[in-house]
């Protein structure tokens, strides 16, 4: 069974774009997809004739439940003028568009296509919080997990209690992740939350003052995050600011055969590693302080790429909840098991730290339209590698970068490694 996966042909990323993330009652998912497509198109430095696109792979978790709309892929193809090309919807819960990317890569590497559009789309804000909670729950085991009363924040909260018990971590480490990702999101014009935790806190104080109400006195952000009224408990130990929001958004990526990249782009990004694995339901796992599928997917990707975790200059990881980012940084080999929370507390994952993680603001601050998140992670890597990340641009050149996209409670994980030559 020893498989050493490799690509049969080099694959390059030559354009990437995303819609603004947020809650947009006035826009349908197709409108958001057009927004992402147009930004992608503009990013192709030597120009793209959309007629050169041969197929679409569209990540979408559940437009059926969120919008009452099935069969999304041909609809998205139509709205960007690409019918009658084959259009394929890819569903692996919150990893849908990370897996769509992998399918696009496989399609080009096989020689079937030269130019492929990879997309991600989700519009979640039509439903109430309770209905969104129910819709997301269908990504777990509806026969044996949901009747117990689990919710998605609940699953990750359970991982957090296992992690806290094993490594003597405290919720303050999770809060550090939230603060860091909000700091990054504040510098990302596409982010749902373009405010640091300090901005949020001061905004609440200003509004209280304007209304003549008592002004809440928090000594600092940590004090604010410990306040049950300002930061209510969702699933202990995870509070509101530990959870990614309910979001609408889309992302689009253009992949081409490596030998064609220079026709499209002055500075292409090569995809040198791809890995994916699956796992059983949470209660069927040996331990809950790591996501096994992430460990396996990253090992495959590192092996294919011929790089090690130390080579990765920036990573976008799946921080659907703050604990998930800490576990991700361990599963990816950036830090030893039990060291991820210490690294977060010491600021090692900030933009100026040893290992910047989620410079986009992550799912936490940028937003988490679930089927679009995996592709949107790649948009940030593209921008960092092109020097287009604006105020959040890393000082050092990014030669090697990584994305880590998780579906459900970790039943799916897909990891990609990117190189700028």
């Amino acid at each position: 069974m020893a498989i050493q996966p490799k690509l049969g042909r080099s694959v390059a990323l030559v354009g990437a774009g995303m819609s603004k993330f947020g809650a947009f009652p006035e826009k349908a998912s197709r409108d958001l997809f057009v927004e992402a497509f147009q930004e992608m198109r503009a990013s192709v430095s030597r120009g793209l004739d959309p007629r050169d696109i041969e197929a679409l792979y569209i990540g979408n978790y559940s437009s059926d439940l969120f919008e009452g709309q099935g069969h999304m892929a041909p609809l998205m193809a139509d709205w960007v003028g690409l019918t009658p090309r084959p259009a394929i919807r890819v569903e692996d819960a919150c990893a849908s568009s990370g897996v769509a990317l992998r399918q696009g890569i496989i399609a080009i590497a096989s020689g079937l296509y030269d130019v492929v559009l990879v997309g991600g789309i989700e519009k979640m804000s039509n439903l109430s919080t309770e209905k969104v909670t129910d819709a997301l729950s269908t990504a777990s085991d509806i026969l044996y997990e949901i009747p117990a009363g689990f919710t998605f924040p609940g699953f990750y909260a359970a991982m957090a209690t296992a992690y806290m018990d094993r490594f003597s971590a405290t919720p303050e480490a999770f809060m550090q992740v939230g603060m860091k990702n909000h700091d990054n999101g504040a510098l990302n014009p596409k982010a749902q939350f373009s405010a640091s935790i300090a901005d949020v806190m001061e905004g609440k104080q200003r509004r209280a003052q304007a209304r003549g109400l008592p002004i809440p006195q928090w000594t600092d952000e940590m004090d604010f995050l410990h306040d049950n009224r300002a930061n209510p408990m969702i699933a202990w130990p995870l509070r509101l600011f530990d959870c990614s929001p309910i979001s609408d958004g889309a992302a689009a990526l253009l992949l081409v055969g490596g030998e064609l990249a220079d026709n499209f782009c002055t500075d292409p990004v090569y995809i040198i590693g791809s890995g994916q694995a699956s796992d059983r339901s949470m209660h069927d796992r040996e331990e809950l302080t790591s996501i096994g599928a992430a460990v396996l997917a990253s090992q495959q990707a590192y092996q294919m790429a011929g790089v090690s975790p130390a080579d990765v200059k920036v990573a976008e990881v799946h921080d659907c909840f703050t604990i998930a980012e800490i576990i991700a940084t361990e599963d990816l080999g950036f830090f030893e098991p039990g060291e991820g929370f210490v690294a977060a507390e010491e600021g090692l994952t900030t933009r100026n730290g040893l290992r910047p993680v989620n410079t986009s603001g992550g799912l936490k601050a940028k937003g988490h339209p679930v089927g679009a998140s995996g592709a949107a992670q790649v948009v940030e890597i593209w921008k960092q590698m092109q020097g287009l990340a604006g105020e959040r641009q890393l000082a050092a050149d990014v030669e090697i970068a990584l994305t880590h996209n998780v579906g459900g409670t970790g039943q799916t994980c897909v990891v990609h490694i990117f190189e700028r030559r």
Partner: protein, 139 residues
């Protein structure tokens, strides 16, 4: 009794009789809870039902404040949070269930590793009545 199919439906009918039943693979001896019609360890399909003790320990837990609609209908929610857990049974398999008899308002009093025993909760009425697996502290 061993002729019953190894499905959630059969599992549920045992739960209604307050029995916690697992499937055991006759070929490799692996025990599976939830029960399965195919052994994922050896691919064997010669299985039999086995009752498990219901004794186990707490692997992980949380206190749910923002509840799904089914639990809101059962009377839980922001004003009445509840505890859910992943429990590892003494026989080996793990299972998800509600955790009763602990203080949801003081989660720091709930300890990973604490010994638990299975219990059964009835919800709904008439046709809608259903038995749910739960756990509580062993002592």
């Amino acid at each position: 009794m061993n002729q019953q199919p190894f499905t959630e439906s059969t599992f549920q009918s045992y739960l209604a009789r307050h029995k916690l039943m697992a499937s055991r693979c006759s070929a490799c001896g692996a025990l599976h809870l939830p029960p399965r019609p195919l052994c994922p360890d050896c691919f064997g399909d010669d299985l039999h039902w086995t009752e498990v003790s219901g004794s186990g320990k707490l692997l992980a837990f949380t206190v749910i404040h923002i509840a799904p609609t089914a639990m809101i209908e059962a009377g839980y929610g922001r004003d009445k949070p509840y505890v859910v857990a992943v429990v590892v049974l003494d026989e080996g398999p793990g299972i998800s269930a509600q955790l009763l008899g602990v203080d949801a308002a003081n989660p720091q009093t709930i300890a990973v590793g604490m010994p638990l025993r299975a219990t059964f909760v009835e919800r709904g009425e008439g046709e809608g009545q259903r038995t749910f697996l739960a756990f509580q502290p062993a002592d």
